[in-house]
């Protein structure tokens, strides 16, 4: 972190578009886990994601940007494949973050 002498006066941001550097993914308590095999590429998750964290390549969902995903769960909620109880058929599943982060 910068010391008080090095910070821009008045909390000014002089570099445009730098919010991408703000890793909002650090806030996450629940993690969406993507299963490519079950995905039908309907793009509903991509449309609904408030953080633009669904990564799409060549019209196909390829993964999730965990640097910025806050774990809100909207993608899993809206995913048509994730309705019902059968875990093996879901394309997006929310799992607690502690399962993935060793330091927790």
């Amino acid at each position: 972190m910068k010391g008080w002498r090095d910070l821009e006066i008045g909390a000014l941001i002089t570099e445009p578009g730098n919010s991408a550097e703000y890793k909002t993914g650090e806030w996450r308590a629940w993690r969406p886990v993507f299963n490519r095999e079950n995905c039908i590429d309907c793009m509903i998750c991509w449309v609904f994601c408030p953080d633009s964290s669904i990564i799409v390549k060549d019209k196909k969902v390829v993964g999730i940007d965990y640097d910025h995903c806050k774990g809100c769960g909207i993608c899993a909620h809206e995913c048509p494949k994730s309705k019902g109880d059968d875990e093996s058929k879901k394309a997006l599943v929310m799992k607690p973050e502690y399962l993935f982060r060793e330091e927790d």
Binding site: M1, K2, G3, W4, L7, I9, G10, A11, L12, I13, T14, P16
Partner: protein, 401 residues
């Protein structure tokens, strides 16, 4: 009020509001946003005249509240404009939220403040409780003794606020009605002189600079908020120097000293009163009168309330023969020992390991008269305190008992 340009220096019969409006006209700010409130209304009437008659290039924004007035000023200042407003009492209170925004964003705005009491009961008269309420919002606070000082302080305020070492907003206070509506001789500078003195504004990252896009007023969480507040403290400490420098520069133009404090006949004084605002003028007269009777009295007038001139004040007291000191406050701090100025004076002395008997005096709340008799009464309290007699922590002057 004649709507003319001032080509030659002259002394005119002006009220404080007229003098402040004239200062605003000569400064010719880019934006003025204001909402009328007694006793400031008249000032903005005069200024609206100037705008309507084309004597200023100012964009005059008539808003629907003081909260909006200062918001517009903050927006304008961030965009790169020299922006000013005027207010009084409850109007300043309504600006409260934005006061911190302006200072936190380090924008050089200026408020011409007509000090007025706060409700309740409703009161429109001179009182420092509005300014004292805004004390910790990071604004530089200058206090004027009379209309001419308000005029002079406003001109200096622009330069202080815009100094790159400072970049903090400034409010310049004058007592409501006592100064704002009383006609007195005011010596005006030439338009040209004022324009030259305030100069062109050097902007720091203005929003309207589309070549270099910036974000003003961003969020800072617990990881950096404190660092920004530390920057503001530094700016205030710089302001202490800058106010002195600007005062000296102005003195060269004006031929009249402007320092943080004004020590009046304190060198050999045994009893000293510390006063702020219009009462300082009355107190000087009383000091002269009492000196004729051979009494060793003096006063110290505080011109800069924020940043508070702790060193100047302590130096002046230590250099005198003070046996006791009285501190006159035109505001209450309910539940505190005495008024806000009292606390500052105690801090100034205590931190220098100097201890004097100090009496707290509260006067003039809601425009209550404070005439020569009351100042003499105040000196009596100080004398009692010096003689070791018991004096209550706070003496209310001119109170019906």
């Amino acid at each position: 009020m004649a709507v003319t340009m001032i080509e030659e220096r002259k002394v005119v019969p002006y009220s404080g509001n007229m003098a402040a409006a004239e200062a605003l006209r000569q400064i010719n700010p880019d934006v003025v946003a204001a909402y009328p409130i007694t006793p400031q209304t008249e000032m903005m009437h005069f200024f609206a005249d100037f705008v309507a008659n084309g004597l200023v290039d100012t964009e005059f924004i008539t808003v629907e509240s003081e909260h909006s007035a200062l918001s517009a000023v903050v927006g304008a200042a961030a965009a790169g404009a020299r922006a000013m407003t005027a207010t009084a009492g409850p109007g300043l209170a309504l600006m409260w939220e934005i006061l911190g925004v302006a200072s936190g964003m380090r924008l050089p705005a200026v408020i011409a403040l007509v000090n007025r009491a706060l409700s309740s009961p409703i009161n429109i008269h001179g009182d420092h409780s509005d300014m004292m309420g805004a004390r910790d919002q990071g604004w530089i606070i200058l206090v004027s003794e009379n209309a001419e000082e308000e005029y002079d302080n406003l001109i200096q305020a622009v330069k202080i606020a815009e100094d790159e070492r400072v970049r903090l907003p400034v409010m310049v206070g004058m007592d409501g009605f006592i100064i704002s509506h009383s006609i007195e001789g005011v010596s005006l500078l030439k338009d040209e002189e004022v324009r030259e003195f305030v100069g062109k504004q050097r902007m720091f990252h203005p929003l309207l600079d589309v070549e270099h896009p910036t974000t003003h007023g961003a969020i800072a969480m617990s990881d950096s908020y404190m660092e920004f507040k530390r920057q503001q403290r530094e700016a205030m400490m710089n302001a202490y120097k800058v106010i002195r420098e600007v005062g000296e520069e102005f003195a060269a133009l004006r031929g009249k000293k402007y320092e943080h404090i004004e020590a009046y006949k304190t060198e050999d004084a045994e009893y000293i009163l510390i006063v702020m605002g219009s009462a300082a003028g009355t107190a000087k007269y009383v000091v002269d009168r009492m000196r004729e009777r051979g009494e060793k009295v003096g006063i110290i007038k505080i011109r800069t309330f924020r940043p508070f001139p702790y060193y100047d004040l302590a130096d002046a007291i230590v250099a005198s023969n003070a046996k006791a000191i009285g501190v006159m406050d035109r505001a209450e701090t309910f539940g505190g020992y005495s008024g806000p100025l009292f606390e500052e004076v105690c801090t100034a002395l205590y931190t220098r390991n100097k201890f004097y008997p100090i009496a707290g005096l509260i006067y003039g709340l809601g425009g209550r008269d404070c005439n020569i008799n009351h100042i003499e009464e105040a000196f009596d309290v100080v004398k009692k305190k010096a003689a070791g007699e018991e004096v209550p922590p706070v003496t209310y002057l001119n109170l019906q008992v």
